[in-house]
Amino acid sequence: MKALAASRRHRLAPVILMTLALFLTGAVYAALAPSSAQANTAGADDIEEGRRLFITNCSTCHGMSAEGSDTVPSLIGVGAASVHFQVITGRMPMDADSPQAGAKPPQFTDEQARQLAAYIASLGPGPGIPDEETVDPALGNAAEGMQLFRTNCAMCHNFVGAGGALTNGKYAPALDDSTPTEIYEAMITGPQSMPVFNNANLTEEDKRNIIAFLVAQREPNPGGFTLGSLGSVSEGVWAFLVGFGLLIGAAVWIGARSS
């Protein structure tokens, strides 16, 4: 987490603040509502609260008992990690009918997301939400993560996780703002177009290494402005905008008669 703190001036800052705010809200909620004090261990109360939230917010599409329909996936057996990921990144509830559900400001607190997750997990077994240690970037090896990320992830998400295009309007999102927990959950559940990377394919340690690599990418770039980390195209655009802007400006100055 040291690395996270070091880049507080960076684009991560809002995310951390937001996450903190969410946890704070959760904590306040927990203090005010003693019945669900132990938010992280799925008790019967959580499941019940989750069921209530599900019926109010999700059942229109996913069905009263999460059984899904022809066009909407069943949630039985997707596991807590999947629900937590979809809800905490704002992908669910989905708003417009677009090629894919994009991330947006979440509608639920982390607390509520976990309650929803607990309810869905109670319907059938699936991957659970990882604990702090499993996703702690400080325990991972960023260099090993580099190799794994390049092989398994970079072709969609770009070398530094800046995102990329898929077919017919779908895309792989940028990973700059994703929390370690979200990255882990995405790998284990394979949201939407993304394939699943189960623990035989990428072990828990492999996944932590990948998280360590992504977090290391958030250090300030030693070369100066990153120009969006989009590679040669953005570099070319900047060469013409800044380089030729200044150079031709200078040329016009030299060629103009002095007054």
Partner: protein, 561 residues
């Protein structure tokens, strides 16, 4: 003059002695006599070539720095565990990549030099292209400068090779994929493709030879070639004397400008430092080609947004636009969807570009020397052709970035690709027609301006009650720019039969040539002639008022205020 052999009392004796020393050995007084006060016309667009020249010098300087620390070897090593960046520690990689990391992170100023070198390369090729466009738009390639144009064209090609070989050296994933694509393109060439691929890589891709080979080409052969071409190019610029824009006092027989010493020593010399300075600031603050993000080359990997540097992007776009097509003839495979976009398209583009002065000569049967440039509007067909070709180039650039366009504008990748496939054929036609019309429109506007003068915004009322805006006529100097340049006319040819009614041989060929010439020059807007101007003055109330009426008008205005 400082090289005076018999120094007068004002000359510093030390300078005189040095000058004498050099003159008796090198004859510098003769050189200085010939070149010292040579005139150069002043215009910002004449400095575009200098940007290319100076960024080339910066490339040599920064490149020399890099060669001191770069190891052109593909031998596999493991990156040390105590070296930066942490994401590479202990990983297997080639010595080339490891030395690139080392010179970026552990050589003080090394990363700056790498970035300076890369930015200079982008600017170098860009400046050449913009310079070439200036030459084309203004007709500076015309007789007697066709050969110098060709030399410039060769420099552009060699620079692309310099870029390609340099880009491949760090042996990171992106450069390796660039080579992989090069391999795919080379292999597609019929009959010899496979063998050419073996020739480039010393066996199969990637092999162990390609980085040292590219290195030898990149630091020795190609820059040597460019330097030789630069020398000839500059010599011919001096020999021909520089072109100039049309203007009062400027003719095909003179040069109007400032002397080399001291004005252009200061201006051109100063511009070198400005170019170096701007490139330096870019290298210091803007990261480029962050190879530590890409990691060492591995043939199993590629990242989203994998693109070459901008000057190769049109090839990438061309490859992306092409639909699937592969034919097998008598058991031999011809991959058309590689061959056409990567060999045929650039082949046609470069042939037309290199041959343009000769196409022009074919259309004009050019006999005289041209030292006064065209304003682009005064050569509408040529301007329109250049814009049309440019529009194709831009479509290819955009197609090469289609994945980034898709993600940044939330569009479908497939839809964009289809749009560009259509635009590739439609846009140049539209661009040609629109540009030509715009040129004619501008020429007509010039005529209007000459005939009726500048609008002053002053509205006056005459004694008769008539209102009119006062127009200020152009002075002789301003008018000359608009009426001086005469348009080209299509070729006149001899009739099909001579006076005895005998068919002339070669007439058909001439007819074809005339037809071609008419395409360029048939439709034109003639500049205003003196007779037209007099006529306009005679009929127009728009011109400056006669002195008496002017006075009346002033009084009227004063009263109304």
């Amino acid at each position: 003059m400082t090289t005076d052999l018999a120094p007068g009392p004002k000359v510093d004796p030390k300078i005189a002695a040095t000058a004498d020393f050099l003159d008796t050995r090198l004859g510098i007084s003769k050189m200085f006599k010939g070149l010292g006060r040579k005139l150069f016309p002043d215009h910002w667009s004449f400095l575009l070539g200098e940007i290319a020249l100076y960024s080339f010098i910066v490339l040599i300087i920064s490149g020399t720095f890099l060669t001191m620390f770069f190891v052109p070897s593909m031998t596999e090593i493991h990156y040390p565990h105590d070296a930066l960046p942490v994401t590479m520690q202990g990983q297997p990689m080639s010595e080339a990549f490891a030395s690139t990391l080392n010179l970026s992170f552990h050589v003080r100023g090394g990363l700056f030099m790498r970035q300076l070198h890369h930015w200079s390369a982008l600017i170098f090729v860009g400046a050449m292209v913009i310079h070439m466009l200036r030459i084309l738009f203004t007709g500076a390639f015309r007789k007697p400068r066709e050969i110098n144009y060709l030399i410039g064209f060769l420099m552009l090609i060699t620079s692309l090779l310099a870029g390609l070989t340099g880009y491949s050296l760090p042996d990171d994933v992106l450069s390796g994929n660039g080579l992989r694509i090069t391999d795919g393109v080379v292999r597609s060439i019929p009959i010899i493709g496979s063998y050419l691929s073996f020739m480039v890589f010393g066996g199969e891709f990637p092999g162990m030879d390609v980085v040292p080979r590219m290195y030898a080409l990149h630091i020795l052969f190609i820059p040597g070639l460019i330097l030789a071409l630069v020398a000839v190019h500059l010599f011919l610029v001096f020999w021909h004397k520089h072109t100039q824009y049309p203007g009062p006092g400027r003719t095909n027989k003179n040069v109007v400008g400032f002397p080399l010493f001291p004005i252009y020593v200061a201006k051109a010399g100063g511009f070198f430092f400005i170019v170096f300075g701007i490139l330096g600031l870019m290298g210091a603050t803007m990261s480029i080609n962050n190879v530590w993000n890409y990691g060492p080359f591995d043939p199993a990997l590629v990242g989203a947004g994998a693109q070459p540097d901008w000057y190769m992007l049109f090839l990438e776009g061309s490859l992306r636009l092409m639909p699937s097509w592969e034919v097998v003839i008598a058991g031999f495979t011809v991959p058309m969807s590689v061959l056409i976009p990567a060999v045929v398209v650039p082949g046609v583009l470069f042939t037309v570009l290199g041959a343009y002065p000769f196409i022009h000569n074919y259309a004009t049967k050019d006999t005289g020397e041209h030292h006064v440039l065209d304003r682009p509007r005064n050569a509408p067909t040529r301007t329109a052709i250049i814009v049309a070709v440019l529009s194709v180039f831009f479509v290819l650039l955009a197609a090469g970035s289609n994945d980034l366009i898709a993600t940044h504008f939330s569009l479908s990748l497939n839809a964009i690709t289809w749009a560009f496939r259509v635009l590739f054929f439609v846009l140049p036609v539209v661009a040609f027609i629109v540009t030509k019309r715009v040129c004619y429109g501008l020429q007509r506007k010039d005529r209007e301006l000459v005939l009726h003068g500048h609008e002053t915004g002053r509205v006056v009322r005459f004694a008769s009650g008539e209102y009119a805006e006062v127009h200020k006529p152009l002075d002789d100097f301003e008018r000359w720019v608009l009426v001086g340049p005469q348009p080209e006319r299509p070729l006149e040819i001899e009739p099909a039969e001579d006076s005895n009614g005998v068919r002339r041989p070669g007439h058909k060929k001439e007819l074809r040539r005339q037809k071609f010439s008419r395409f360029f020059y048939e439709e034109r807007v003639e500049p205003v002639t003196p007779a037209e101007l007099v006529a306009a003055h005679a009929t127009g109330a728009h011109d400056a008022l006669p002195a008496s009426e002017e006075r009346d008008a002033r009084e009227l205005e004063a009263r109304t205020h």
